[in-house]
């Protein structure tokens, strides 16, 4: 796949004009896929997610690199999230990102051990279970999975750090309490399911 570029770059290093855009292209390299994953999980739609991600990067082009030093990623995710919320609001689903968040105990993850008894299915099943969590919990865990700290997640989602901590805890505790997960956690730890997933 060829991608056209507005200028040629020699092997001696980046040209001056490439320097000015290089950090943005590097951000695209680094964060395009994580942003797409995130947006898709918020919106449940590939095309909408692509629009939202593009919007975030276009906005990035208007920013000064110095002003975003060290926090490009949280900034991108935050812009992406706000745009996704706009979409949800327009489509009348605006409450779906924050409407349901219960403490553990009232387990929000349906227990159905008979349906997925096979241990080796667990990793895939975990992803399904995660999708069944209330959106704020799932979002906190997803962002942590993307490599963000709780502080950064707080910055992205506009919540407090303690709130992010509690949401993550609720989500992970709900998963942990699922009978299938418990079965795995208490089984032979020498065979973690993660080892089976590498292609």
């Amino acid at each position: 796949m060829k991608v056209s570029r507005p200028h040629d770059v020699g092997s001696e290093g980046m040209s001056a004009s490439s320097d000015t855009h290089g950090w943005i292209l590097e951000a695209v390299d680094l964060y395009e896929l994580p942003l797409q994953r995130y947006a898709r999980r918020l919106l449940g739609d590939f095309d909408l997610a692509a629009d939202v991600v593009q919007h975030a990067f276009v906005k990035l082009c208007e920013q000064s690199q110095a002003a975003l030093e060290g926090r490009v990623a949280p900034w991108l995710f935050r812009v992406c999230r706000n745009r996704a919320l706009d979409h949800l609001r327009q489509s009348g689903r605006e409450t779906s990102i924050d409407d349901c968040d219960r403490p553990p105990g009232r387990n929000s993850v349906a227990a159905d051990p008979a349906r997925h008894a096979e241990q080796h299915d667990l990793v895939g099943r975990l992803r399904e279970l995660l999708q069944e969590l209330p959106t704020p919990q799932r979002e906190s865990i997803d962002l942590w999975c993307e490599g963000f700290t709780h502080r950064q997640i707080a910055e992205i989602t506009g919540r407090s750090e303690v709130h992010v901590r509690v949401l993550t805890h609720r989500g992970l505790s709900a998963l942990r309490g699922h009978p299938l997960v418990q079965q795995w956690l208490t089984a032979d730890i020498s065979a973690p399911p993660a080892s089976a997933r590498k292609p």
Binding site: M1, S4, R5, V9, S18, D19, T20, H21, G22, I24, L25, E26, V28, D29, L30, L33, P34, Q36, R37, R40, A49, A50, Q54, F57, V58, C61, E62, S64, Q65, A66, E69, D86, T95, D98, D99, C100, D101, G124, R127, I141, G147, F148, T149, Q152, G158, R159, V162, H163, R165, V166, T168, H169, R170, L172, R176, L185, P193, A194, R197, K198
Partner: protein, 530 residues
């Protein structure tokens, strides 16, 4: 119910905590945050004290289970992996071209945007490749020597025992093209010629990095660069060691060629991964500027969904790409030295030793200019059977301790080295009864001083488990293991990407600038890179 609505969260941070969280839940949430590496060092220490209480069985179980669960979720493959979009790149380039010049004018070069402060001063390519340091053994502990000359003499006297070859897990797919035959690669490495081969590959890499975005083209160019590098290496392996000097000169690093020739003369013993100390053995680490670009290269390749070429991966540079909290030098000392040890996570039974050196901060942020800075690691043969400096699998001599004492603005202020050690005697008995494993001796001279001064720090290893080690040591170990995996190193033992991810995730600490989180992202990318 939640305390906030979408239209609030879209714009404003919401202070405070969830109103329905009980004290108990907040406490448990702290434990979970500890398990996923999100507490500050102070908070984490509190939790660790609490977990040490035998009565806290449930909390310990919570930590263990949450950790395993979270790591499994984190590194689970995406259900439907998104694809990169050319349309996005076009749109971004168009937007960037149309963006106000003010934003662009203030932007710094790409690599800088992500670089750590330590890397503000990037060495020249030549300095980068000509690696650094020399380590040798069997030398009286109290003598400083002209390293390169005396090394020749010593070559024949050295006695070595190869490390038992650890059962190596299946190797990563080769990053680009077929791998060099192991033997010729090792031989080339032994001659130090691989560095010369690197010159070409790396120049190519930079060109490619600048070219960006065209991964297919990258692949084929990389392959040819790599195969040329291997040809060089193989050729040199077959030639006399002196070929090294010529090759290096050709690579534009003539000033180093002479030194390199003398190094090459000691090639025969250089093929070993670990060395046996006879009597009291030393490793002398002399510093040279090294190029921190290895991490940037690794990141760039992985960001493009490709594994970096093996020779673009330099463990000592990767390890030193991260910030570690070392104490300020005490009193008048120019440096602080931190030495600690723990179980080696990829080779059970081996010990992993970290040496961290930090120089003094000055008011203007420029490190103090010093002369004759020498770090020496003396291993105690009564305790240490063999040792290996990570990043120097090549032949135990390529430690790139960057010169962090040059007095140049932006020069790095700390440096970290990791050693893998086997103990003398099986398991070496009761750790409490051991003598010191090694002593780090650091000397320096201030320009206006008559004599040099120094500090000596012995390491008394108490047999600490890996999980009990400080987060910085664990994180550095994860980075080193990642480097070994990317290199396809024979020394990687049980190191796997999931293990690296788990160690790093547990050791992420405060990570204020998100660098460690970004590393975790790279590890995950490596799992799906080709």
């Amino acid at each position: 119910m939640t305390d906030e609505r979408a239209d609030d969260t879209a714009a404003l941070p919401t202070a405070g905590m969830p109103p329905d969280a009980s004290d108990r839940e907040l406490f448990e949430a702290r434990i979970t945050a500890y398990a996923v590496g999100q507490l500050t060092a102070v908070e984490a220490a509190e939790i660790e004290r609490l977990l040490a209480d035998p009565a806290r069985k449930d909390e310990r179980r919570q930590v263990d289970e949450i950790r395993r669960l979270a790591a499994t979720i984190r590194y689970a493959p995406d259900e439907t992996a998104p694809a990169r979009s050319a349309a996005l790149r076009r749109a971004v380039l168009a937007a960037a071209a149309a963006a106000p010049q003010t934003a662009a004018a203030r932007a710094r070069p790409a690599s800088r945007g992500w670089a750590w402060p330590l890397f503000a001063a990037v060495g020249s390519l030549a300095a980068a490749l000509l690696v650094a340091a020399t380590i040798f053994f069997g030398r009286p502990a109290d003598r400083m020597v002209a390293i390169h000359d005396e090394q020749k003499q010593d070559a024949s006297e050295r006695e070595t025992v190869p490390m038992a070859a650890a059962a190596a897990p299946p190797s990563m797919p080769d990053p680009a093209g077929p791998p060099a035959p192991a033997a010729s690669r090792a031989a080339a490495n032994a001659d130090g010629v691989f560095d010369a081969a690197k010159v070409e590959s790396r120049e190519k890499l930079r060109g490619l990095a600048a070219g960006e975005a065209d991964t297919d083209k990258q692949g084929s160019q990389l392959e040819s660069a790599r195969s040329r590098g291997e040809n060089l290496a193989q050729k040199a392996a077959a030639d006399k060691p002196q070929a090294l000097g010529k090759l290096l000169a050709k690579g534009g690093v003539a000033e180093e060629a002479k030194k390199a020739e003398s190094l090459a003369a000691s090639a025969p013993q250089a093929k070993r991964a670990m060395e046996l100390p006879s009597e009291r053995s030393d490793a002398v680490l002399s510093e040279k500027a090294s190029d921190p670009a290895s991490y940037a290269d690794v990141r760039r390749f992985l960001a493009a969904g490709r594994l970096p070429p093996r020779d673009a991966v330099r463990i000592e540079e990767l390890v030193n790409s991260f910030h570690y909290d070392y104490p300020h030098p005490e009193g008048d000392a120019a440096f602080s030295v931190t030495v600690d040890a723990a179980e080696c996570p990829w080779k059970p039974g081996h010990r992993l030793v970290r040496i961290g050196v930090r120089s003094r901060d000055t008011v203007d942020g420029v490190p103090e200019a010093l002369e004759d800075v020498t770090i020496r690691v003396e291993f105690n043969p009564a305790e240490v059977a063999s040792h290996r400096l990570l990043g120097s699998e090549i032949e135990g001599r390529s430690l790139a301790v960057r010169d962090f004492h040059t007095g140049e603005a932006g020069a790095p202020r700390s440096v970290t080295a990791l050693y893998e050690i086997t103990l003398a005697g099986a398991e070496a008995g009761d750790p409490a009864g051991r003598q010191e494993l090694l002593t780090v001796k650091l000397r320096w001279k201030r320009p206006d001083a008559e004599e040099s001064t120094g500090i000596e720090v012995p390491l008394a290893d108490r047999g600490r488990e890996f999980a009990e080690a400080p987060a910085d040591l664990r994180f550095a170990a994860a980075v080193a293991a990642f480097g070994m995996i990317l290199q396809g190193s024979d020394q990687r033992g049980e190191a796997t990407l999931p293990l690296v991810a788990k160690i790093a995730a547990d050791a992420i600490g405060r990570d204020e600038r998100g660098h460690r989180a970004e590393f975790l992202d790279l590890v995950r990318r490596a799992e799906s890179a080709r």
